[in-house]
């Protein structure tokens, strides 16, 4: 008799627990996202969101990605629902996602609002800082019920960044020009997270005070700033010819000291845990520029 009551009580308690699992987090657009049960079918609508989901330990739960989702390699096996800027909603809905990781500036808001109208929970992934990246990993892990892995990944990332900060951020400043694109010539101002990477490494972004997030420039503007180091990103993984172009300006300090560096854009132009690797490379490059002063 006692056993029966105990069992019934335990069973009821379990049922209650299962019902009240509910988790709420706040996304990068400051919207609250609540799930009643952990997400098992995640749609990641940007290559960065896919990486964050995998980092959070929820990679196996990602059922939909978008084009250019090339990392980690397991992501390439997942069904694509079109390009981030134009989604195939039909295919996406048919995959029955129970959590959508949307990209505020990349996905068309009209299409995301259709998904919201259909009752799908939307979590906007739009990290602007190192702590945002860690926060997003933790949030996704919380929603997917993989907190242990998520916490570990977030902590590893933050520790790595802290290590770089203590190692480099107090070293002598290097005036740095980060080239986002070559034609038109583009860089970023101090509101961009790449600017934070430059500062982390003890560099100073020569265009930090531009009024626009991604200013478009001409060569003249760069020549006047006369940066000590030029770092190129770009679209492919080999863009040496962007840097070769700067060699035609022998008066440029960066050219004189051969401080023309390439950092693979996939490691730095996506706000994901891989940014740590990119930051390491950038810090080493800027340190090399310091050594070349003598």
């Amino acid at each position: 008799m006692f056993l029966k009551i105990a069992l019934t009580t335990a069973f009821t308690a379990m049922l209650c627990l299962a019902n009240v699992w509910g988790q709420c987090v706040v996304d990068d657009k400051e919207h609250e996202v609540c799930l009643e049960r952990s997400a098992t079918r995640i749609a990641a609508l940007s290559p960065g969101a896919t990486e964050l989901a995998f980092a959070a330990g929820a990679g196996e739960r990602v059922v939909a990605v978008v084009s250019f989702s090339d990392y980690p390699s397991a992501a390439q096996e997942i069904e694509s629902v079109g390009s981030p800027s134009r989604l195939d909603l039909e295919r996406l809905v048919a995959l029955k996602p129970d959590l959508v990781l949307a990209w505020g500036t990349g996905n068309p808001s009209e299409q995301i609002s259709v998904l919201a109208r259909l009752g799908l929970p939307i979590y906007y992934v739009e990290p602007h800082s190192f702590s945002d990246i860690a926060g997003d990993i933790r949030d996704i892990a919380l929603l997917a019920g993989t907190e242990t892995q998520g916490d570990r990944a977030a902590q590893t990332f933050l520790n790595g960044i802290a290590e770089l900060r203590s190692q480099y951020s107090n070293k002598p400043r290097v005036a740095t020009f980060y080239q986002v694109w070559d034609e038109p010539l583009m860089t970023m101002n101090d509101e961009h997270y790449i600017n934070q990477v430059v500062e982390l490494c003890g560099g100073i972004n020569v265009f930090a005070d531009s009024s626009r997030l991604i200013p478009r420039l001409n060569n003249e503007a760069v020549l006047i700033k006369n940066p000590e180091a030029i770092i190129a990103g770009g679209m492919g993984e080999r863009n040496a010819h962007w840097l070769e172009a700067w060699r035609t300006f022998p008066n440029l300090l960066a050219t004189q000291r051969d401080n023309l560096f390439f950092v693979p854009p996939s490691l730095i132009q996506r706000p994901t845990p891989r940014l740590l690797e990119g930051a390491k490379i950038m810090c080493q490059r800027l340190d090399l520029a310091r050594q070349r002063r003598n």
Partner: protein, 325 residues
């Protein structure tokens, strides 16, 4: 060209339109069988299929048809008003005005219903500007209207280029898709259908007078048509239709120019026939083109304007070559 029964082509076109609409509802990047679709249409069967059909396919197909119908009818009216075969709904800068407003709105971070509002505002503003500037002592000649419109359109074109040049890179894809015309962004087809029905009812009683006007204002006036009133009336209706089409789907090109010409080549130049026939066949073309755009290389989606041109250009050249013009 004489037809024994003048309504015969229209009946045929209504039939083709229904077939196109049904065909488009059955097609998508997720393949549903005819039975799946028909049970979803009766709100039976799988919840997922009902969502796909009712929430995604039907609104988009309806928006596509209404956009095509509005643009084709607006094109037919503009060609009569300006007495110029090259006229299309955009020739007077209406889409340019809408584009500048929408791109400006995207630039400052607006989205959703505000973009539709901006498109409508821009289209209305542009048509008022063209109409106001082309007036001289209360009179408007088609030539003056056309030139004013073309120059204003060029001005808007410069503004569009300027906005594209200064826009942040991450906003450019959205802007380009809007400029190319894209039904992925269509919110709701209802406004377009209401305007289509309203304008059709308003314009059809004047179809006979439009036949006379197409021969020239002097002849029309001699035959007792109030030319000034009719021209203004046509201008307002065509502008309204273009504004709504652009608001629904961005500037989908080509349809408004070619469909009315195609209909004239096949059916002769009787506006009582041409206007409804243009609306129906324009609707079919855009609906069919959009079905291809969203399925042909799915999951990647194409802008509908590309497909309308790819289908329309050879068809039009074929008809032209057969030689009734």
């Amino acid at each position: 060209m004489l037809h024994r029964s003048p309504s015969m082509p229209l009946i045929l076109l209504v039939f083709v339109s229904c077939a196109t609409l049904l065909f488009s509802i059955t097609q998508g990047s997720v393949s549903l069988s005819i039975t799946d679709v028909s049970s979803a249409l009766r709100s039976q069967g799988s919840q997922l299929y009902q969502t796909l059909v009712w929430e995604l396919r039907i609104p988009r197909v309806a928006a596509a048809f209404a956009t095509g119908a509005l643009l084709s009818m607006a094109g037919a009216l503009m060609q009569i008003l300006l007495r110029n075969p090259l006229a299309d709904p955009y020739v007077l800068g209406i889409s340019g005005g809408a584009s500048v407003m929408v791109l400006g709105a995207i630039l400052v971070g607006a989205s959703g219903i505000i973009l539709s509002g901006a498109a409508f505002l821009g289209a209305t503003l542009s048509s008022l500007l063209v109409f106001g500037l082309s007036q001289r002592s209360g009179q408007t000649t088609p030539m003056r209207l056309l030139l004013t419109g073309v120059v204003i359109a060029a001005g808007w074109g410069a503004c569009i280029t300027l906005i594209l040049a200064i826009a942040p890179p991450q906003k450019i894809p959205g802007m380009l898709f809007w400029l190319m015309g894209d039904l992925a962004y269509a919110h709701s087809p209802w406004l377009a259908w209401v305007v289509l029905a309203m304008v059709s009812m308003l314009v059809m009683p004047f179809a006979k007078s439009l036949n006379v006007l197409a021969r020239g204002p002097l002849q029309a006036a001699a035959l007792g048509v109030n030319v000034v009133f009719l021209e203004r009336f046509v201008f307002i209706l065509a502008s309204l239709m273009t504004a709504i089409a652009v608001t629904t789907a961005g500037s989908v090109g080509f349809v408004g120019l070619v469909i009315p010409h195609m209909m004239r080549l096949i059916l002769g130049n009787d506006q009582r026939l041409i206007l409804p026939a243009s609306a129906l066949s324009g609707g079919c073309l855009v609906t069919f083109a959009d079905t291809i755009a969203r399925t042909v290389i799915a999951p990647e989606q194409l802008p509908v304007g590309v497909i309308t041109a790819l289908i329309g250009v050879p068809t039009f050249l074929f008809l032209l070559n057969k030689g009734r013009m």
